[in-house]
């Protein structure tokens, strides 16, 4: 085979490899997007995962239906994730809203429920208040369960409509806000990122400063460096087991935000130490000499000259760390739990996005919901990437001329 033919062959292999890698990547991301995008909407991002029951107080007031029957029928509860349409809708004038009977699915249980499908513009439901007098919003996929103490269970849609129409004056309506959202998971993830960085960043940076600026090269430093590298390579489930045994059990922190973030902080340490060390090493010796020759102390030299030069590198470390926390699931599963709620204190459990994705996929078999969470995770990671690139460019002392 001639040299030229060989060249073409090798080139072809290189292009093919690149092409395969790229298409696999695109396929995965595309798959997640196609599978999950149908579920991503504002409600998904802002609702709790669990249903919320509230009693709404409204003043009954006859509101005629302003749209024709045909278009009312088309207004199914838009949230089709959990519902199969069974009957209706029927428009009820005294609450100015249409109700349909659906088969409602949540947490792998399925029940027949009555769901609001349409709310008229002047409907009294629009000015509903709760028992404390606070205004509440009622949407078109909320469930009504009783009115003035008359429970709707076991009733047909026509009976329910009649029951509601019979009431007048002030009405007390038991309403269920559907769950299925990931607000709590987003907030838990942000808490986790913040807390673990607060712990790991100073430790890692000071550790790196010790290794590059103070420690005399030798056995000890090599051992520390080797240990840090080993730590970086250990699968996170091991840290999870440690966190569970130590933070959760020995220190009695329980399965909680603090146990989770401390465990993740340990996972982050090697990453932060390594990248800060690399950043410090690239700061020219001439800056240190120049500073010392001006009678600055070693500490002044480090904090006023060396560290500012290393900021872009440290920003990279922060970015990598955030990515790590957002992506961490095994360790958090064991230390922070799978409870989809906003942690009220440091010692309350909470599940991050990845843990929630695992949970809904594995425990509830809801792959689509897991993919929707996946989309949110991907978007968060991309946004963080862009942000950190911008900030590290802004902070780069060598960029300012």
């Amino acid at each position: 085979m001639g040299r030229k033919a060989k060249d073409i062959l090798v080139k072809g292999v290189i292009y093919l490899a690149t092409g395969i890698t790229l298409s696999v990547l695109l396929f995965i991301v595309g798959f997640i997007f196609v599978k999950g995008i149908g579920l991503v909407n504002w409600d998904f991002l802002t609702r709790d995962y669990n249903e919320k029951v509230v009693y709404a107080f409204i003043e009954s007031n006859d509101v005629p239906l302003n749209i024709d029957k045909q278009s009312l029928n088309e207004k199914n509860p838009y949230d089709k994730r959990y519902e199969t349409h069974l009957e209706g809708p029927i428009y009820v004038e005294n609450i100015g809203a249409a109700i349909a009977k659906v088969s409602y699915k949540n947490h792998s249980t399925e029940r027949e429920q009555f769901v609001i499908t349409y709310i008229e513009k002047d409907s009294p439901l629009r000015s509903a208040i709760d028992s404390t007098g606070k205004e509440i919003t009622i949407g078109t996929d909320y469930i009504v369960q009783s009115i003035n103490g008359n429970d709707f269970a076991e009733l047909t849609l026509a009976e329910v409509a009649a029951t509601i129409a019979d009431e007048s004056g002030e009405l007390k309506v038991k309403i269920v806000q559907p769950g299925g959202g990931i607000k709590s998971n987003i907030i838990t993830t942000l808490y986790m990122v913040l807390l673990s960085l607060i712990v790991a960043l100073p430790l890692g940076i000071f550790g790196a400063i010790y290794l590059t600026e103070y420690a005399k090269p030798g056995r000890l430093v090599n051992m520390i460096r080797f240990a840090a590298e080993c730590l970086a390579g250990i699968p996170s489930i091991i840290f999870g087991l440690f966190g569970m045994a130590f933070f959760v059990v020995v220190l009695k922190f329980q399965i909680s935000l603090i146990s989770g973030s401390l465990t993740v902080a340990i996972i982050l340490l090697p990453v932060i130490i390594r990248s800060t060390e690399e950043a410090l090493k690239t700061v020219p010796m001439a800056f240190r000499e120049g500073s010392l020759a001006l009678g600055a102390t070693k500490l002044q030299t480090i904090f006023k000259v060396v560290l500012p030069c290393a900021v872009p590198g440290i920003a990279t470390a922060v970015l990598l760390s955030i990515g790590r926390v957002v992506g961490e699931s095994a360790a958090l599963l064991l230390t922070a739990g799978t409870v989809a709620q906003i942690p009220g204190t440091l010692f309350s459990p909470g599940s991050t996005l990845t843990v929630q994705a695992y949970y809904v996929a594995k425990e509830e078999g809801n792959i689509e919901l897991a993919c929707a969470i996946g989309i949110v995770i991907i978007v968060i990671v991309i946004v963080l990437n862009i942000l950190s690139r911008i900030t590290s460019d802004k902070l780069d002392v060598f960029n300012k001329k």
């Binding site: 120049g290 010392l292 060598f398 300012k400």
Partner: protein, 252 residues
């Protein structure tokens, strides 16, 4: 003791690990003179210069025997190294301004010493830049990064930064070797004007430079001072054959 002697070294030996870089150096350096060190690469002249403000402390394997007296005090003994370095400033071979604004570069040293007053700092920055013949060129962009200056300007900034500490001695380690002839000429002019206020010790590879600006010249070879004398004598009538060989270009 002669009050005009700034530095006095007695039997100074220096080792890098097992390698002896300086051998029994005895030298008296006078106040408000320019002293030049010349010699081939690796002869120990820079090493000796860095002994004078203890920059060799940064290198772990260095071991020093003998005495270096600064105004009669042993710098490896009683003097605090931070204090020593504020009194003995240094300008390096490659311009090394910090990646900060021009103003901050000059104010850095005084700030590290605890000077906080804005007016005082402003005055000091201006004075130092004027003395370093850089004021006219940078007065409109004091808050711009020092990295935007040309190489020659950066080196003068480094000199200004050193002057801002109001040192007694300025050590210069081949300060013009990274600069073009015009920038070099400016720095040489600057050195001549600084001579009346400061003691200047300069390491140089250019014998012409040593001849032009220095009062005294020391010729180093293999870690030893072969000859130390008035500059005109070194260049016109050296006592040692090796000095003559070096300055006439027969080796080195």
């Amino acid at each position: 003791m002669d009050a005009n002697i700034k530095f006095n070294t007695k039997n100074l030996d220096l080792f890098y690990g097992d390698f002896q870089a300086l051998k029994a150096i005895n030298m008296e350096i006078r106040e408000k003179e320019v002293t030049a060190f010349i010699g081939p690469s690796g002869c120990g002249k820079s090493t000796f210069l860095r002994c004078l403000n203890r920059m060799n402390d940064l290198i772990d394997s260095v071991k020093i025997n003998g005495e270096i007296l600064f105004d009669g005090q042993d710098i490896n003994g009683t003097i605090d190294v931070i204090n020593l370095r504020t009194r003995v400033g240094m300008v390096f071979q490659k311009p090394n301004p910090f990646p900060m604004s021009i103003y901050e570069n000059i104010a850095y040293g005084p700030k590290c010493q605890g000077m906080k007053d804005k007016n005082q700092l402003d005055t000091l920055v201006k004075e130092s830049l004027v003395k370093a013949a850089l004021w006219e060129e940078v007065k409109d962009r004091l808050n711009k990064s020092a990295l935007g200056l040309s190489g020659g300007q950066q080196q003068r900034l480094c000199i200004a930064r050193t002057i801002a500490m109001n040192p007694e001695v300025i050590l210069m380690d081949e300060p013009t070797s990274a600069l073009d002839p015009i920038a070099t000429a400016k720095i040489e002019d600057l050195m001549s004007s600084l001579k009346k206020d400061y003691t200047i010790i300069i390491v140089t590879h250019s014998m012409q430079q040593a001849g032009r600006i220095s009062d005294k010249t020391a010729f180093f070879l293999m870690g030893e001072v072969i000859e130390f004398n008035e500059t005109p004598i070194i260049f016109t009538n050296p006592h040692d054959k090796r000095t003559e060989d070096y300055i006439t270009g027969r080796f080195g």
